[in-house]
Amino acid sequence: MTATTAPAPPDELDPDAAQAAIEYCYQQGWSDGLPLVPATRSLVEKFLAAAGRSRHEVIGRLPQLEREVTVELAAINAAMAGCLPEYFPVVLAAWEALMLERSTQGGGWQSTSGPAPLIVVNGPVRKELGFNSAGGVFGPGFRPNATVPRAIGLIVRNAYGIHPHELEQATQGLPGRWSICLAETEEESPWPPLAAEAGQAADASAVSATLLRTCEFVDNRHTGSAEQLLTDFADTIGRSGAWIFRYASAGIVFCPEHAQLVAGAGFDRAAVRQFLAERSGRSTAGLAAVGKDACDDNGVRGPGAGGSGDFQRMLPGDAAQHLLIAVAGARNAGISMVVRLFAGWSGTAVLVPVLRNTAASNKENS
């Protein structure tokens, strides 16, 4: 059996040198398990030029570990993750959006729940950089969607020094950790962009992000009733499994079909949230059956007296911070993702600066 070969690469490429460099990166303990792009000074300078910010600017601190992240360290990790230089402003915006989340300032990165960032990209930058907003939006196959969250993971690993089995204590970790970055399909969405709901201009390029506990989809393609459909979402959102404190926050990444059906019945985002805030939860008796009907002084759920049929709401309210709503995916079936937020969502979106001419900004940044 002979191996088939791709069209011959240009003569100057040296795969042996590339392999040796990749192995060197593994040996240093820098990798998340997949090959890294070895970052060189010339490559990283392109990233810094694309961002147009001081390399020394500190963009993250974790005092308990005595570690900090500078723009330059972020650039090295983004280059290693396989980002193109022009993705780097999106990486920085995603990182800054995550820094606005309370959970990332505390123990979130070290947590036994092994949370995954959810990164949502809005605006013209989606098309300019080729972000997937359509089919398979939670899955692989698209360089910006795959490498931007990987860059975040490498920053946490390398710049913060949080390694699995050491300072990172995920019991199992969330599938999709360091790989969930989706562009909203604004073209198919019946609602304004998520970033607009978070206060940015409707045509702004911006990134929203938070940490997730877990994801579970709702497959419902045979009802034409918005109320039935939303009730299906309420049931999934209100499950007890991931519900450990008095309240829990969630999100929905609606597929276009579901979003359009619900919007067609007159629901805007606020109305969807109100509907779901009232209906997502369990009876006290139902929670008692799983040992989660009571809260201790710290708001942690555990076994209580049980018994009653009172309904306990899961969402702390109907604000966007407690139920993030985005739209993404193919318009080919009624399958949407319910996500569970690690804590809440800050309700903010961070602007991606208009992309600069790399050559011009190279000078001013040097």
Partner: protein
């Protein structure tokens, strides 16, 4: 000459901030008359476990619990003013329970901070978090720092089982807080 590969950790050029090694606070020979501080970290059963050990220290060692507080943010080391409050009010401190990814690490950081403030400390961690606790000790310049381990899990124990754990831990607590004879 080939291009150098850049280090993504930012540590290559760094000198360690604190000199390695920790001088433990001076120990008394016993705990008779000692003022004991308890600092729990909101983790389920932590306050009860510390309180039970406190009772045993009183009844069996002649110590008195003179301060107790809950560290609200279990993920972060205790703020300096909280450490100072214990320094003013106690002779020794008992803290825990390190029972999660970030809180085990920060419990060890607290123990080291108490020692550096001159307070003998006993830190209790679940034995499932030894690696992260040790990693924090190293970060704080105290590799090999000793703390007490108790079998995981702690959060599911009944009150009676917590009292059992307190009894099991007591000799280790006393040993850790006093000078070797």
């Amino acid at each position: 000459m080939p291009n150098a590969i850049l280090d993504p950790t930012g540590r290559a050029s760094r000198v360690p901030a604190s000199a390695p090694g920790l001088d433990l606070a001076l120990r008394r020979s016993d705990l008779a008359g000692a003022r004991v501080g308890l600092m729990d970290n909101t983790k389920h059963n932590a306050a009860l476990l510390l309180a039970e050990i406190g009772k045993l220290l009183a009844s069996e060692q002649g110590a008195t619990v003179t301060a107790r507080a809950t560290k609200a943010n279990f993920a972060a080391p205790a703020p300096a003013d909280l450490v100072e409050r214990y320094r003013a009010a106690c002779d020794v401190v008992l803290t825990g329970v390190g029972d999660c990814g970030s809180c085990s690490a920060s419990a060890v950081a607290d123990g080291i901070a108490f020692e550096r403030a001159g307070l003998p400390a006993a830190v209790i961690c679940s034995d499932a978090f030894v690696v992260t606790a040790d990693a924090m000790a190293e970060l704080r310049g105290a590799p090999g720092y000793h703390y007490l381990q108790t079998p995981h899990p702690v959060a599911v124990l009944t009150a009676d089982q917590v009292r059992q754990r307190a009894k099991q831990l007591l000799p280790g607590v006393v040993e850790m807080l006093t000078a070797p004879r």
